[in-house]
């Protein structure tokens, strides 16, 4: 049975190691925070914070304390604040060990498209281009196929790119794939999902 959103998040959480500074994107990646367990992970919010805490208790929302998804959050004992230039300085400078991001499409070369559908969706890339260009390791978490059943794991992305050759690992509802210079390598299959199931659902080259 393919993984659900929470199982995908839990799998992504296994990518994170003790002591890491990590940036989690919006959507399923946000759920990863619920599964880090005892690991000492510091979450960056790219609007200017390290050490992002959980949502506040009702009545304790602070308009001056939001995450990159504009949600009210809280601080922790380790928290620091800084401006946006400093925040992206640490992203671009490779100080963030890993980012877990959603995607619309990923290619077998590690290209990522997650910011724009021409003529349709023009919200902007936000910090995604900076993150994929700068962080140590990029892990994508997404459904393997779109709502029409088409593969989102492609030979070439069809949508405008967020970054070229930037994805290290893809975690989907079907399993875990690594981007290698020869093509995609299946690392793990979800419970009850076979290699053949993944190959069938994938347009990209599997090696």
């Amino acid at each position: 049975m393919p993984w659900d959103r929470n199982q995908m998040a839990a799998r992504a959480a296994q990518e994170l190691e003790d002591g890491m500074y990590v940036n989690l994107g919006i959507g399923i990646p946000t759920l990863v925070a619920n599964y880090v367990g005892d690991k000492d992970i510091t979450l960056q919010s790219e609007n200017g914070m390290l050490g992002m805490g959980p949502f506040p208790y009702v009545g304790e929302e602070d308009p001056d304390l939001i995450n990159a998804g504009k949600q009210t959050i809280t601080e922790l004992a380790r928290t620091s604040y800084f401006d946006s230039a400093t925040s992206f300085g640490m992203i671009r400078g490779g100080k963030i060990a890993a980012a877990v991001l959603g995607a619309m499409e990923v290619s077998e070369k590690g290209d990522l498209a997650n910011w724009m559908i021409p003529g349709k969706l023009v919200k902007g890339m936000g910090g995604a281009m900076d993150l994929v260009a700068g962080v140590g390791r990029v892990v994508v978490v997404m459904d393997h196929t779109n709502k029409h059943g088409d593969s989102k794991v492609l030979k070439e992305c069809t949508l405008p790119l967020t970054g070229k050759g930037v994805v290290d690992r893809i975690i989907t509802n079907l399993g875990v794939l690594d981007v290698t210079h020869k093509g995609l390598h299946i690392v793990e299959c979800a419970d009850g999902v076979t290699r053949d199931d993944i190959i069938t659902a994938t347009e990209a080259t599997i090696v």
């Binding site: 992970i41 919010s45 790219e46 609007n47 200017g48 914070m49 050490g51 805490g53 959980p54 949502f55 506040p56 208790y57 009702v58 009545g59 304790e60 929302e61 602070d62 308009p63 001056d64 304390l65 939001i66 995450n67 990159a68 998804g69 504009k70 949600q71 009210t72 959050i73 809280t74 601080e75 922790l76 004992a77 380790r78 928290t79 604040y81 800084f82 401006d83 946006s84 230039a85 925040s87 992206f88 300085g89 992203i91 671009r92 290209d111 023009v122 919200k123 902007g124 890339m125 936000g126 910090g127 995604a128 281009m129 900076d130 260009a133 700068g134 405008p160 790119l161 970054g163 070229k164």
Partner: protein
């Protein structure tokens, strides 16, 4: 040296002209110069280019300047919360220059620091790079991004002293320091102006040299997404360790 003005309108007096480039601080609706935006709306100045990470929402922040059609062009990284923006952009009424968020922040800081251009890997291989010069360092491609030199900066801080030294609060700092730096003139609005000497000089986030005019005012500080969790019985700690 008197930097303190009574109202946003007075603080902007003589600084506005059609077609100017304005850099604005804020992220989403957090830490935005709401009073100065209102005063710019009231001034009627038009054909503005605004460098700001976001474009407000339909009825708040920069969204107000979009509603009145005073903005000709936005330089932003994310404008997803603004339906009127989307409409004007898709109909071709509004120009939009998308900048990766970190590139936008760095372009502002660079402008303020007298750096006309810098190289970054962000956007290499994407449409952002299409019109930009590419240069290799250590065998890797980087693109040239240019500093932003704004005619006017508008920013929001938490507190100021009367010499313009600013401190920000939590994530409301965001784009405000780089936006302030890149303006020929910078006007700041704050929640409280305190006498010089009241702020520990090691706690100042933005030195007064960057701030030319200053107002104190009441801020709505609207919350865009009020996310909470239930309070467990007896829980009172506001700050906890993960």
């Amino acid at each position: 040296m008197n930097k303190v003005y009574k109202t946003a309108a007075e603080a902007l007096d003589g600084l506005l002209h059609d077609g100017m480039l304005v850099a604005a601080g804020g992220f989403g609706l957090c830490g935005i110069p709401e009073l100065l935006i209102d005063a710019i709306v009231a001034s009627g100045v038009k054909d503005l280019t605004v460098a700001s990470n976001n474009a407000g929402v339909d009825d708040f922040g920069l969204g107000k300047l979009l509603a009145t059609r005073q903005i000709k062009k936005m330089m932003s990284s994310y404008v997803g919360e603004n339906a009127e923006f989307m409409r004007q952009y898709l109909s071709g009424e509004l120009e939009l220059e998308f900048n990766p968020q970190g590139t936008l922040a760095e372009r502002m800081r660079a402008g303020g620091a007298g750096i006309p251009g810098f190289y970054t890997q962000t956007g290499v291989g994407t449409q952002i790079a299409e019109t930009k010069e590419v240069k290799q360092f250590g065998g890797k491609d980087y693109i040239l991004e240019e500093g932003i030199f704004a005619d006017l900066s508008i920013v929001k801080a938490w507190k100021a002293d009367d010499t313009g030294n600013l401190i920000f609060r939590k994530t409301a700092r965001n784009f405000n320091p780089p936006a302030a730096m890149c303006g020929k003139v910078c006007v700041a609005e704050v929640e409280e102006i305190v006498p010089r000497g009241s702020i520990d000089p090691d706690h100042i986030h933005l030195p007064g040299i960057y701030v030319h005019r200053l107002i104190q005012g009441q801020h709505e500080k609207r919350i865009e997404q009020r996310t909470t969790r239930p309070r467990p019985e007896g829980a009172t700690r506001k700050r906890e360790e993960a």
